[in-house]
């Protein structure tokens, strides 16, 4: 079973996109999830609803609005031009931005649940032992919630690999730049090249399964 060079490019692009997005989401999502888990502010509900929106909205809707917002006439596009990075649609970084938005709830929700499960006591305990809030986070919260981090990372990664609607709307299907594996696969199907589609789909499935297996096989079983 041999894949074409285009296929490998698409797969590499997909892997890069998913890895980068997952990393960015860890950095952005962790403080957000922590705030949501701890705050008593009235903003908590609305913020949770906004975070959850990408789950509910059709991906093509998200892609459509991003296309407009990041375009030359949209607020996002005008901003990116003003700071000198040009326009994001049809670029790899445009996909990164779109994927970060699209996969945000898959990072934030598991983290928030894990943080909430810790409760108040370990945090109070740490405070009485001279640990500052930041110190407490890294020495107590993270060790007690690492399964949550794992779940969040895997879900965000897998979700980005499977992303299609948003990519199609915002990507423009440029080889080597935005033609990720899901789009490449779709092209095969549209062109009735089912043999090519099967080959690529098989590799994609095996790759995804192995990633998920490597992560889930190590998780501790619930007592």
């Amino acid at each position: 079973m041999t894949l074409s060079a285009d296929d490998w490019t698409a797969l590499a692009l997909t892997a890069q996109l998913a890895a980068l997005v997952t990393l960015i989401l860890f950095v952005l999502g962790t403080p957000l999830a922590w705030w949501l888990a701890r705050t008593t502010s009235n903003w908590r509900g609305p913020v949770m609803a906004v975070v959850a929106l990408p789950i509910v909205l059709p991906p093509t809707v998200i892609g459509f609005y991003l296309l407009i917002a990041l375009g030359p006439n949209g607020p996002g596009g005008q901003f990116t031009q003003a700071i000198g990075i040009g326009l994001l649609p049809f670029t790899f970084w445009g996909l990164v931005v779109a994927s970060v938005i699209y996969s945000l709830p898959f990072m934030v929700q598991p983290l928030q649940a894990a943080f909430e499960a810790i409760g108040r006591r370990p945090l109070e305990s740490a405070a009485t032992l001279r640990a500052s809030p930041l110190d407490t986070f890294f020495s107590v919260v993270v060790p007690l919630s690492w399964p949550g981090f794992l779940t969040a990372g895997v879900l965000a990664f897998a979700h980005t690999v499977g992303e299609f609607g948003v990519v199609l709307m915002l990507g423009g299907n440029l080889a080597g730049e935005t033609r990720v594996a899901s789009v490449q696969l779709y092209d095969y199907v549209e062109a009735f090249d089912y043999a090519g589609a099967h080959r690529l789909a098989a590799v994609l499935m095996v790759f995804s399964f192995l990633v998920l297996l490597a992560v889930y096989a190590r998780r501790p079983r619930a007592a």
Partner: protein, 249 residues
């Protein structure tokens, strides 16, 4: 003549909406023809009482769906190959295919100063991105590439963004993300003029004609309303509507 046949329809099939013989047509329409299809179907329903359920999308996608049993009665394709393939594969009724519209290709920009009759911006590469429909699936995409070849213009891959359908191609151009796009004239033309932006209508000689064929699908072969719709498409009044949207007939 047309009024007489319309009268006959009305007499034969009863008043719109109240007839016991009111049928339903499941219609699959190529994305570029969606708006005229809605207008034509509305007129058809008013005249005959049959209701029409319209699904718009890429012709290639419809092909795959129909082959796998999708419940459509009639297909208004964006090309002439797909109906032919359907007939060959026994998913459509032989002899029922005919050209309902001839697609016109246009180079368009949402910016009303960008495109001139000489298509200078295209020739001189004065653009970041040119939007083109996927040639593997959309005849407008194929026609666009043929046009570029005829004009001997080479657009590098990284400046050419590909839309999944002609509708998406239009969106790329309409949002301004692609300064230029090869779209269907019907998408930017209404009542004899351009709806917005600037355009250059591509001469027919530069590409293979985009014949858009209609065909009766096997599933609809016993559906009287479906056959009636196909007849309706050939009516002069319908043809005039089609032309007003920027198609040839």
């Amino acid at each position: 003549m047309h009024r007489l046949s319309a009268l006959m329809f009305a007499l034969g099939l009863g008043l719109p909406g109240t007839s016991a013989h009111a049928g339903e047509v499941a219609l699959a329409v190529a994305a570029n023809f969606l708006e005229p299809a809605r207008v034509i179907s509305a007129a058809f329903t008013r005249a005959t009482g049959h209701s029409v359920h319209i699904s718009g999308g890429a012709t290639g996608k419809f092909y795959a769906q129909i082959v796998n049993g999708a419940p459509f009665d009639v297909l208004l394709a964006a090309d002439d190959e797909t109906p032919a393939r359907l007939i060959a594969g026994k998913q459509a009724v032989p002899g029922s295919a005919f050209t309902y519209a001839v697609g016109r290709l246009a180079l368009w920009s949402a910016d009303d100063k960008k495109v001139d009759p000489a298509a200078t911006a295209l020739r001189n590469g004065q653009f970041r991105f040119l939007a083109v429909a996927n040639p593997k699936t959309a005849p407008y995409g194929r026609a666009a590439l043929e046009t570029l070849k005829s004009m001997q213009i080479d657009v590098p891959d990284n400046k050419r963004v590909v839309g999944e359908s002609i509708a998406q191609t239009w969106q790329f151009a309409a949002s301004g993300n692609a300064e230029l796009g090869f779209v269907a004239l019907s998408q930017i033309w209404k009542d004899g003029k351009l709806t917005r932006g600037s355009a250059w209508v591509v001469p027919d000689s530069l590409h293979t004609p985009i014949r858009q064929d209609a065909v009766l699908l096997t599933r609809g072969q016993n559906n009287a309303a479906a056959r009636a719709l196909l007849d309706w498409m050939k009516q002069p009044a319908t043809q005039r509507i089609i032309q007003s949207y920027g198609y040839g007939t």
